[in-house]
Amino acid sequence: MQYSSSALIQKYLRSRKIPSTACSGCGLGINHKVVVQAVDELGLGPADIIWGTSIGCAGRQTFGTWQGDGFAGTHGRVYAIARGLRIALPPEKKIICTVGDGDAFGIGLLHLIHCARSNVDMTIIVNDNLGYQSTGGQFGFTTPQGVKTDSSPYGMFEHNLMSEGMDVMHILKGAGATFLARHVAMDGPRAVESVKKAILNRGFSLVHMPYPCPTNFASRELGSRNQVNIYRWIKQRAKPLGQEDANTVWATGVWYDATDSRPEFSEHIWASVGKIRRTGAL
């Protein structure tokens, strides 16, 4: 990484909340740093971004960390709040939401799809720790098939959004998202580049970022909380797009880039309202 964490923290985050109360070895901090570094490389300041968060490890650990304005939504609903907020915000303000996989792809999927559908200018960072880890470690909707969790003691066998050739990205692309990328926590500068593109897109952007959970996921699936094991386990299952092999769970890189190809939600709404107000018709 180009910058030291302490420099980024001083510039953008609140010392009261950083370091966070995340478990030892948790990969969330890496993802968090990727996002903050992307913001910094774009030359944006704390007042340029409104930071939304969700429920679960990703939401709770990142809430209140941003020096600028920030809010936390109820479980799965931060997308709907952000969509309403987008209408009230000046277009130059950016919304970034750091959320978890259960929040985005489980309870919040409907709202997420409707944000993609209407191409709301927001950047959703889905920090995927492979299940519901803040409740102790249950499988989620992007948890790899066969893994053991507290709610899949025989191995996870339910069909989900990443099984049988499916990919949650297909759903989001079909719904109208204009920028989609996936990076595991070890992708470093590549991930930063994708997050920068996501933020710059004036429309709905989502970056899916699987990261290691040594405490709950690894202890059940790998029988060890040794951080090296889970970092290696994820890295072995991630390959850049186009270089996938039989073991690849996460194809990484820019998955879909249709930046600025569709009108942005709030601009479209306000332009329509303005025209109706002026002329009485569209």
């Binding site: 809430f63 109820t74 609903r77 000046p90 409707h114 709404i269």
Partner: protein, 391 residues
């Protein structure tokens, strides 16, 4: 002023616009659909935004978002949608976000009957979300004209109390056509008693004071002041915290900012023939009160000592009206008896409390008169036979 023969949905729409509402998000549901339709037509004309959400849960969350960005916002629904507000209602209470929620009651439970009036959400408007540790304010008008006034009032209160306010109506009010007067200037609004309050915003750094103070501006996103709010128990600054002391302070504010300022809304009631110690006090709210008022007029003409108490401010429940020793009869649009339970709780120990329910249909004046007479003669109330003798 301009007069219209229009629906309650129209009246509520115009009231909201007069109060400064410039964002509405809803989901089609009978009998509140025409309210959304009216908003979709009127808001763009006023430079406001109408959006249709994927469900009611999203609709209220979008309103929260717009309000969080500084826009006065409103949503409207019926019972099946109101229950989906549970999640965002809690957020708006906890984050102290001004917002107006209209619920037009129909027959329940669940989808029930769409095109008939019901009053099944009396308690739900007191506890619209989980967790407790809050008070709610609910206003229940009984006509289209009053619905307009109460929506204006709800916006006023929501800004000053920094919280969501529910306006509880029913299908007859929202769908029914009535003579409606709309003020056309600020002077005319004043003449009609309409008060408005501008949106202010908290420039930070603190999220809230643990006092019962009114007129604390809400947090606003986008100012760059570092404002924070969340669904978690907050510190004064807005950070999330898991400490019971912090929770106690927050709960104190959510409860007592309402309880200690009841004078802001507890004048919202109507009394009829209540000055001569009536033997029987008929208690109601919303549309049934219109039949009750007529029946009480006729009872008086027959020499029966009956009075009528119509509640407009339902929550916090105005216990002070039930101090006299009398017979109370709660007339409601449900069969299970909801208002009556609260009357029983609030009434003095030696008062008698009775219940007369119907649902989907209003009670008739002859029915009411017959029951008034029976109660005054200490006879049991007329029953259809298949319901329980006592609620």
């Amino acid at each position: 002023m301009k007069r219209f023969l229009e629906t309650g949905n129209f009246a509520i729409t115009e009231g909201a616009i007069l109060a400064g509402c410039r964002f509405f998000c809803g989901y089609p549901i009978t009998p509140a659909t025409e309210l959304a339709e009216a908003m979709s037509k009127r808001l763009p004309q006023e430079g406001g935004v109408y959006l249709q959400a994927e469900d009611e849960c999203a609709a209220m969350h979008l309103c929260i978002g717009a309000s969080l960005g500084g826009m006065k916002s409103m949503t409207a629904t019926s019972g099946p949608g109101f229950i989906l507000y549970a999640d965002p209602y809690g957020w708006a209470l906890g984050c102290e976000m001004p917002l107006v929620v209209v619920n037009s009651g129909r027959v329940g439970p669940v989808s029930g009957i769409t095109g008939a009036p019901g009053q099944g959400e009396f308690y739900l408007t007191r506890y619209p979300t989980q967790g407790g540790n809050f008070e709610c304010i609910t206003l229940a008008p009984n006509s289209a004209q009053e619905a307009m006034a109460m929506v204006v009032e709800a916006f006023y209160l929501s800004e000053r109390f920094r919280m969501p306010i529910t306006v509880l109506v029913d299908q007859l009010i929202t769908d029914g056509f009535e003579d409606i007067t709309v003020p056309e200037s600020e002077e005319e609004m004043r003449q009609m008693g309409f008060k408005t309050w501008p949106r202010a915003f908290c420039a930070g750094p603190d999220f809230y004071p643990f006092t019962d103070d009114l007129d604390i501006p809400p947090v606003q996103m986008g100012s760059g002041a570092g404002g924070m709010c969340s669904d978690w128990t907050p510190t004064v600054e807005g950070y999330d915290i898991e400490e019971v002391d912090a929770h106690h302070k927050h709960a104190y504010r959510l409860i007592y900012k309402v309880r200690n300022h009841r004078d802001m809304f507890n004048h919202l009631y109507e009394k009829k023939f209540m000055d001569d110690d009536p033997e029987l006090v008929v208690v109601s709210y919303g549309t049934p009160s219109r039949v009750v008022n007529t029946a009480v007029d006729q009872a008086r003409a027959r020499g029966l000592k009956v009075g009528a108490l119509r509640l407009i401010n339902l929550w916090p429940f105005p216990d002070e009206h039930f101090a006299r020793k009398a017979k109370y009869l709660a007339v409601e649009l449900n069969w299970d008896g909801q208002l009556v339970r609260e009357v029983q709780r609030a009434a003095t120990k030696d008062a008698e409390v009775h219940f007369l329910g119907s649902c989907g249909d209003l009670p008739t004046i002859p029915d009411l008169l017959e029951n008034f007479e029976k109660l005054l003669k200490n006879q049991p109330l007329t029953r259809k036979g298949w319901e329980l003798e006592a609620w």
